[in-house]
Amino acid sequence: MVTDTPVRVEEPAPLRRRLSAALFRHPRVRLVGLLTLPATWLVLVYLSALLSLLVTAFFTVDEFTGAVVRELTLDNVREVLTTPAYVGAAVRTVAIAATVTVLCVLLGFPMAFFMAKIAPPRSRNLLVALVVTPLWASYLVKVYAWQAMVQPETGLIAWLLTPFGLPGPGFGVTATVLTLTYLWLPYMVLPVYAGLERMPDSLLDASGDLGARPARTVRSVVVPLVWPSIVVGSVFTFSLSLGDYITVQIVGGRTQMIGNIVYQTYTSNLPFAAAIALIPVAIMVVYLALVRRTGALDTL
C-alpha cells in the first residue's frame, strides 16, 4: 500500500530533546530539582521554628517591658521542674494520655478485628470509610459535641443515665478522657486493622484446631502478632492527647494539662511557655525511643 516512503533527513535533535536526554543521564540533577523547593521550605519554615522554640525556652523576659531578653539561662526549665503545680500538670497530662491510649486499644482492637476477620470482605471498605470519615469532621465541632454529651443534668449521657439513677460525667477529667478517646480512636483502629489484615486467617484456624478457645487465641496468637500495629497507633493517640489544650479547656472544667498552661502563658511570657512545651517533646522522645526498641517503627 505504501507508495513512497519519505526520506528521513537527519537533523540535529531539538533543544527539548537534548534537555530531556541530559536530565535522563543525570539523576542527581533531577533530584536536586525536585528537592530544593520542599527541603528549603521545611527547613526554613518548620525546622527553624522548632529550633527557635528550643532556644527561646532558655531565654528570659524583661520584668518591666515584658520583652524577650536573649540571654541564655536555665531559670525557666528550673522553675518548671521545681514548681509542684507544673509537675502535677505534667503527671496528670501523661496519666490522661495513657488512659486515653488504653481505652483506644480496648475499644479499637475489637472493631479492627471485626473489620479485618469477621465482616464479609465486601463490607470492609464501607466499614473503613465509616471509621475514617469522622476523622475529617472538624476537631472543634467534635469537642463541642462532647460538651453537649457530658453536660451535667441536661447532657445526653446524663439523660441516658437518668433511668438508672446515675448522674452524667459533668465537666472534668472523665469528660476530657472520653472526648480525647473519641477524637483519636480512628488513629488506633486503622493501623491495627492494617496489621490484622496482613495476618493470615489460617493462624486463627490453627490455634482453634489445637484446642484454644477464642479468648486464648486472641491473647496468645493475635495480640502478639499485631502488637507492632498497636504500638504505632499508640504513638498517635498518646502524642495527640499530650499536646491537647482545647478539649480540656472546653470539657475539662478546672482540669489543667500541659497544653493549657502553655496557652495561658505564651502571650505574657513566651520563654516560659516554650520551656513548658518542651515537656511533651521530651516525653515523646522517650516514648519513641522505647517504641523503637520494640521494632514497631520499622513497619511504619
Binding site: 527539548r16 530533546r17 533530584l31 525536585l34 528537592l35 523547593l37 520542599p38 521550605w41 521545611l42 519554615v45 518548620y46 521554628a49 527557635s52 522554640l53 527561646t56 524577650v68 475499644l107 475489637p110 472493631m111 478485628f113 471485626f114 471498605n125 470509610a129 465509616l130 471509621v131 475514617v132 470519615t133 469522622p134 476523622l135 475529617w136 469532621a137 472543634l140 465541632v141 463541642y144 459535641a145 460538651q147 453537649a148 454529651m149 441536661t154 446524663a158 480512636l185 488513629y187 486467617d201 484456624d205 477464642p214 487465641t217 498517635f236 495527640l240 499530650l242 491537647d244 489544650y245 482545647i246 497544653g259 505564651y266 511557655a273 516554650a274 512545651a277 511533651p280 517533646v281 515523646m284
Partner: protein, 268 residues
C-alpha cells in the same frame, strides 16, 4: 475461631458499640442545630429551621468562611506543589538524609499540637521576623498539609512503579512527553485527592491557627471558638457546627472517588 458463634457476636456487638460511640455525637450536633431553645438540653423540646436562616445571613459567619477559604486555597496550592515534588524525590531516589527528610514531613502533625503551634509562632516572630497576618496562618497550614499530599502521591507512585514510564520512553517519547502523557495522568487522581483532603484539614484547623493568627484574622474555627461561651450566639454556633459535620463528608467522599483508595486519606 471465625466459626465460633459467640466470638462473632461479641466482636459484632463491639463494632456496633464503637460505631455508635463515633456517630452519636455527630448526630446530636445535627439535631441540635434545629433546637428551638437557645439553651442546650437533651432531648430538644421543639424543632425549628429559624436558626439556619439566621445563620445564612450572619455577616460575621460569612466573613469567617471567606477567610477560611482564602487560607485553605493558598495552603493547598503550596502543599500540592511541595508534596508532589517531595513524593517524587523520596519515592524514586536514594540519597543521604532521606530518612531525616521523610521524618521532617510528618513531624508537623506527629508532634503534639501545642508544640507545633508554639514553634510556628516563635519561629515566625523571632527567626523569620514576620508580623502575624493571614499569610502566617497560610504558611503554617501549608506546612502541615504537605504530608497529606505527600502521602497520597507517594502511595500512588509506589503502586504504579516505573514500568509505564519505561514503556513510554521505549516507544520513543522523551522525558517531557512521558511526564505529560503517562506520569501526570497516573498521578492526577492521587494529587486531587491529596489537595481535597489538605483543603479540608486547613479549613478545620484550630490548634495551630490560634497561635499563628493575629487578632482580627478570624477563620471559621476561630469564630466558633470565640463564640462557644457566648450564650446568645449558641444557636448560630450550633448551625455552623452542623454544617461543618455535614460538609466534612464531602472531601473524604470525593477523594475516595477520585483516588479509588480506601485509607486514612494520608492522615495516618
Amino acid at each position: 475461631m471465625r466459626g465460633s458463634r459467640r466470638a462473632r457476636w461479641t466482636f459484632g456487638a463491639m463494632m456496633a458499640l464503637g460505631l455508635a460511640f463515633v456517630y452519636v455525637p455527630l448526630v446530636v450536633i445535627v439535631i441540635n442545630s434545629f433546637n428551638a431553645s437557645t439553651v442546650f438540653a437533651w432531648p430538644p423540646k421543639e424543632l425549628t429551621t429559624r436558626w439556619w436562616v439566621e445563620t445564612a445571613h450572619n455577616p460575621s459567619v460569612r466573613a469567617a468562611v471567606v477567610t477560611s477559604v482564602e487560607v485553605a486555597v493558598v495552603a493547598t496550592a503550596v502543599a500540592l506543589v511541595l508534596g508532589t515534588l517531595l513524593a517524587f524525590a523520596l519515592a524514586r531516589y536514594r540519597f543521604f538524609g532521606q530518612q531525616a527528610m521523610s521524618l521532617l514531613v510528618v513531624l508537623p502533625i506527629a508532634l503534639p499540637g501545642i508544640v507545633t503551634a508554639l514553634a510556628f509562632r516563635t519561629g515566625f516572630r523571632t527567626f523569620l521576623g514576620l508580623e502575624l497576618s493571614i499569610w502566617t496562618v497560610a504558611i503554617a497550614h501549608a506546612t502541615f498539609c504537605v504530608v497529606i499530599v505527600y502521602n497520597n502521591a507517594v502511595a500512588r507512585l509506589r503502586r504504579t512503579g516505573l514500568a509505564p514510564e519505561e514503556a513510554s520512553m521505549d516507544l520513543g517519547a522523551d522525558g517531557f512527553t512521558t511526564f505529560r502523557l503517562v506520569t501526570f495522568p497516573l498521578l492526577r487522581g492521587a494529587m486531587l485527592a491529596g489537595a481535597l483532603l489538605a483543603f479540608g484539614l486547613s479549613f478545620d484547623e484550630i490548634v495551630v491557627t490560634l497561635f499563628t493568627a493575629p487578632p482580627g484574622v478570624t477563620t471559621l474555627p476561630i469564630w466558633i471558638f470565640q463564640n462557644l461561651q457566648r450564650p446568645n450566639q449558641a444557636p448560630v454556633v450550633n448551625v455552623v457546627a452542623a454544617v461543618l459535620v455535614l460538609v466534612s463528608v464531602v472531601p473524604i467522599y470525593l477523594s475516595q472517588r477520585v483516588a479509588g483508595e480506601s485509607t486514612g486519606g494520608g492522615r495516618i
